[in-house]
């Protein structure tokens, strides 16, 4: 397989800060591990970016929001207008309210956080996931190689009850903060995966919340993965429906942020997760599966209370 020539992918970085745009370019060209051969251009101004986009095809454009001669959204709109398969991400100071607002407005679900220490591993992951969404799936991708990942297969309500005990014991043993709330969030994630993912042919929910289920069909079963390595603790909840859409997630996030969703019995889970974990990734393969990945870091630099990114990969 070694003699296969990797496909070319072109990336444009737009930021008025030289250190940042050239830093990313340097990293992607020299240190980033990719299945593709990368070509990375940079632009300092909107006008310059738009000129480059007009004359070149870019697979991915990463742009700052505030540029000296305009805003980054116009750049990203320009890319989409030229090629709807182009992917885009923002690089900006991260704030969840802004994330939701921007995502709803522009459909950009990936934000690279401007923060120090800058997390190049995270940048690598975002770039890889954007260039090939397939790589976004699977908890193992986010944990150290050879970490032990445990799997619980949920086939019935009884399995849900059992999984609570298993996860509780795991959380206790791992010594995480906010153990009870984390467990609540995980439980909401699991029940949502069952009651949301299983639909009748007309799209209505097959099971009602609270209803005991003796046996899920094999294509309705939900998988929970959990594991830890030296730096992190990770969870993944995977359903086989893929019925959760990015806009639905944003709806619930916004509703809960505003406080309106206080008494909502579902949807709150996503927001709780976001508050409690350091990284929240939602991978959606429509009609096939939805995967919610939660990562908690032990390293203080990566578990900043000000930087808890959400990434949604939908393809």
């Amino acid at each position: 397989m070694n003699d296969v020539v990797p496909e070319l992918r072109r990336i444009l970085i737009v930021d008025d800060d030289q250190l940042i745009r050239e830093g990313i370019q340097n990293y992607l060209l020299n240190f980033h591990d990719s299945e593709f051969k990368l070509e990375v251009d940079t632009a300092e101004f909107c006008e310059e970016a738009q000129r480059k986009i007009s004359s070149n095809h870019y697979h991915l454009v990463i742009s700052d929001i505030n540029l000296p001669d305009g805003d980054g959204f116009s750049v990203l709109e320009h890319v989409k207008a030229r090629d709807k398969d182009s992917r885009s991400a923002l690089i900006t100071a991260y704030k969840v309210e802004d994330y939701v607002k921007n995502a709803k407005m522009t459909g950009i679900y990936n934000i690279i956080a401007k923060t120090a220490p800058f997390d190049f591993d995270e940048l690598s992951r975002v770039v890889n996931n954007l260039l090939n969404p397939q790589t976004a799936f699977g908890l193992t991708t986010y944990m150290a190689p050879n970490s032990q990942i445990n799997h619980i297969l949920i086939r019935s309500s009884q399995d849900v009850d059992n999984s609570i005990e298993t996860l509780q014991a795991f959380l206790k043993e791992s010594g995480t903060a906010h153990e009870n709330e984390l467990l609540t969030a995980l439980m909401e994630g699991i029940t949502n995966a069952i009651y949301h993912a299983c639909r009748n042919e007309d799209g209505s929910f097959k099971y009602q919340k609270g209803q005991r289920i003796d046996q899920l069909e094999s294509n309705e079963q939900v998988s929970v993965y959990y594991g830890k390595d030296l730096d992190s603790i990770g969870f993944a909840i995977v359903d086989q429906g893929g019925n959760f859409s990015a806009s639905e997630i944003l709806y619930w996030l916004e509703r809960n942020m505003s406080g309106a969703g206080l008494m909502d019995t579902h949807g709150r889970g996503v927001f709780l997760m976001h508050r409690l974990v350091d990284r929240l990734l939602i991978n959606i393969s429509p009609g096939h599966k939805t995967e919610i990945i939660m990562l908690l870091y032990r390293d203080e630099n990566r578990s900043s209370q000000y930087n808890k990114p959400i990434y949604i990969n939908q393809f």
């Binding site: 250190l19 940042i20 990313i24 704030k95 309210e97 220490p117 942020m257 900043s304």
Partner: protein, 389 residues
């Protein structure tokens, strides 16, 4: 005056809105004790008073002492009494005059009224003014701080990127030169690279520190929205203290919680926990980690605002200097020298404010610091809320 009938004077004395006591100075004989005086002092109207030497209730002793003074000049002043009919101390405003009669005997005229409410209102007005001033000051600081912090974030991120890239490049360089045979050269180069890397680490640490500060500033200036959940005050406090107990700053602290009301609040637990942490961390620092903290909570006694709960956090440290009290919530105000940047309490103030409450601090002389977190009580459908316990 002499045109007035004595009976009219009598009536004036009986109906005046102030209390009046007239004494014969030498024998302390009571000549007049008008109805209003009985009323204000909480005495039974049936009680027939002859002289100050009568068995007047003990709580009036400050008044008796005052009336017995020999000072002849007019006095005005305030007298604080603890009347049994009231929970709080009462303040009397008075005029005191010694009148020498033609016969040579001296009379003491004491006219007074209860000014407790006026004083309380005044204090309240001052407190509100202070709070308003405080929040205005913080709001304008917030705008400035947010701008500066945002601008600083870009270069800090860029510097961090460059530092990481240099480290990575140096790492690669070391790997490349490892297989080279020139021994002496190799050790020298390796040593240089190692020292460069250790210098880089220092800059990285400083860079991260600056970035954390920027994060603190942004969170102070533009706090993120709250994720509100109902929780009983008792449960919340107990869980927070349990969680903090494992923390090195608190492992040797004695923290007790007292309170009986079963009130619920709606709060962002992560953020409110941070508030408690910040306050308790100060208590721990003030007592070298070995102090005692009493946390007690109760529903507000003010009838006008029954829907609030006050959580008091009282430590046995040296307290806070009176002159520093009104600066304690200012950003960058710290008494910890290089140990702190002085944002903990400012952020806490903001957080409690976001919850619709108020964070305040008192430090009675000779006692420790006492913080009070005042929060609205959550009343709607507590049964619904129980589900999230």
């Amino acid at each position: 005056m002499n045109s007035l009938q004595p009976s009219v004077l009598e009536m004036l004395v009986d109906f005046m809105p102030s209390g009046l006591i007239l004494l014969e100075a030498e024998k302390k004989q009571i000549l007049r004790f008008n109805p209003r005086a009985y009323e204000i002092l909480g005495l039974d109207h049936e009680l027939h008073l002859q002289s100050l030497h009568d068995h007047l209730p003990i709580y009036l002793s400050p008044l008796i002492t005052l009336l017995k003074t020999e000072k002849k000049d007019i006095q005005r002043g305030e007298l604080v009494l603890h009347l049994p009919s009231r929970d709080e101390e009462s303040t009397l405003g008075f005029n005191l005059k010694h009148i020498t009669e033609e016969t040579g005997s001296t009379l003491v005229l004491f006219i007074f009224s209860d000014i407790s409410k006026v004083i309380k209102d005044q204090l309240m007005v001052e407190k509100i003014k202070d709070e308003l001033h405080q929040s205005k000051k913080l709001a304008s600081l917030g705008t400035l701080v947010a701008g500066v912090a945002h601008e600083l974030n870009n270069p800090l991120t860029g510097i961090s990127m460059s530092l990481s890239l240099i480290s990575m490049q140096l790492g690669r360089l070391t790997q490349k030169i490892q297989p080279l045979p020139a021994e002496g050269m190799l050790t020298e180069v390796t040593k240089s690279v190692e020292s460069l890397l250790s210098e880089l680490e220092k800059i990285k640490t400083a860079n991260s520190k600056a970035s954390t500060l920027v994060g603190d500033l942004l969170s102070y200036a533009k706090p993120t929205q709250l994720c509100l959940q109902p929780v009983s005050v008792q449960t919340f406090l107990t869980e927070v203290i349990q969680a903090l107990h494992g923390h090195p700053s608190f492992s040797r602290m004695e923290i007790i919680i007292e309170g009986h009301t079963n009130a619920w609040i709606r709060c962002d637990r992560v953020k409110l926990e941070q508030v408690l942490y910040n306050i308790l961390k100060n208590s721990s620092d003030a007592t070298h980690g070995t102090g005692k903290v009493r946390i007690f909570y109760s529903q507000d006694t003010d009838e006008a605002q029954p829907d609030f709960i006050n959580i008091h956090i009282q430590d046995n440290g040296p307290g806070i200097d009176r002159t520093l009290l009104n600066r304690i919530f200012d950003p960058f105000f710290t008494t910890k020298g290089h140990e702190g940047v002085g944002l903990g309490l400012s952020i806490s103030y903001r957080t409690v404010e976001q919850h619709g409450g108020l964070l305040s601090v008192e430090s009675p002389p000779g006692l420790g610091a006492e913080h009070c977190i005042r929060l609205p009580i959550y009343v709607e459908s507590s049964s619904e809320a129980t589900r999230y316990e």
